[in-house]
Symmetry: C2
Subunit: 208 residues, 2 copies
């Protein structure tokens, strides 16, 4: 188990976690203004300069953000011919989770920090923009292979359709995020996501 990672990788993971834990903990305990790179680095037992080997900014450390990626497993139950909106929103949800390198227990802590310091949401949105780009590419690839969607409406291409799908599906994701961060309840975010999708359908059915 501990041999799956080399000593180097294990230490890296430990330092990453120590920095993130110190940053988010200090933010909750003493306030975000007390979170300085120097203090966090000292708390984690590394030099301030090393901090930037792990995080591009102190906000990233507080939220434990990492570069998002589209994993193979996430695309497994992506069905172009099924409920496309649901597929896309679930894919976005899955990829969005990859920007949080921390464990699930840490999720509530982060949500609490974001709730107290909404400025941090902005930084998270930056990452979500990256998620949108990644998912758009992945969706476009799937659409291009589908007989139904390979040809887009006149004046548009497959990338446009993918982009629009991601933006619309992203609406329900953002709805779910705003709901769960302003009301830090126990209910899971994927529940909120499905509820948001349902509300969206209800409204749109009336409007189209």
């Amino acid at each position: 188990m501990s041999q799956l990672l080399s000593l180097r990788d294990r230490k890296r993971a430990e330092t990453w976690a120590a920095l993130h834990l110190s940053a988010s903990g200090t933010a909750l305990d003493k306030g975000l203004e007390c979170v300085t790179v120097d203090a966090v680095a000292a708390d984690a037992g590394v030099s301030p300069r090393t901090f930037f080997n792990y995080f591009a900014s102190k906000e990233d450390a507080v939220l434990g953000l990492q570069e998002p990626f589209v994993g193979e497993s996430m695309l497994a139950d992506f069905d172009v011919d099924g409920d496309l909106l649901a597929s896309v929103s679930h894919l976005m949800h899955a990829v969005t989770r990859t920007i949080h390198g921390s464990a699930d227990e840490d999720g509530n802590r982060c949500r609490e920090v974001i709730c107290r310091y909404p400025q941090l949401m902005h930084r998270r949105f930056q990452y979500i923009v990256k998620v949108e780009q990644l998912v758009t590419d992945a969706v476009a690839e799937r659409l291009a292979q589908s007989s139904r969607w390979a040809t887009a409406p006149a004046g548009y291409n497959v990338e446009d359709v993918a982009k629009m799908l991601v933006l619309v599906a992203g609406a329900s994701l953002r709805f779910a995020i705003q709901k769960t961060t302003s009301h830090p309840t126990r209910e899971s975010q994927s529940e909120a996501l499905d509820q948001g999708m349902e509300l969206m359908r209800n409204i749109l059915k009336e409007l189209l």
Copy 2:
């Protein structure tokens, strides 16, 4: 004409424009890394400290960003019982324009800067989040007075419906923004907005 504004207000407007023009001009001519607060302030003939009386950050100066607001005139042709999605997206578009204090001719310059330095888009998104909040409140108020929308679907309230409407309408706005900034054509953004809305309708009709 020049008496409509007091001397103080006129000078303020001039200094604002000088700072913004210097910042965006330097970004285009010499690159964004050459845009420093000191240089911009000197170029505009004010002290560096004064710069921060006008802009909260140097990015704001480059893009000429101002606090968004919902004007009376924007709500004039908002029709709750008509094409609600179109109404909301047009309202969002109108409010989004208020974050750009500069004149229309300056729009292309800013789009060019954003195109060359996509990091700036993030700062703009921060303002768009504010736009979303403002428009959500305005829309919720209108919905509450409407007989059709005053009662939301079970489990949701009017604010939820307004939020979702804004997010969905925002999707077509973001689509239009991405289109026009990656392809800085002459066609107006409101055209792109309507086209995006049309694409969204086409796609959603197939999916609902």
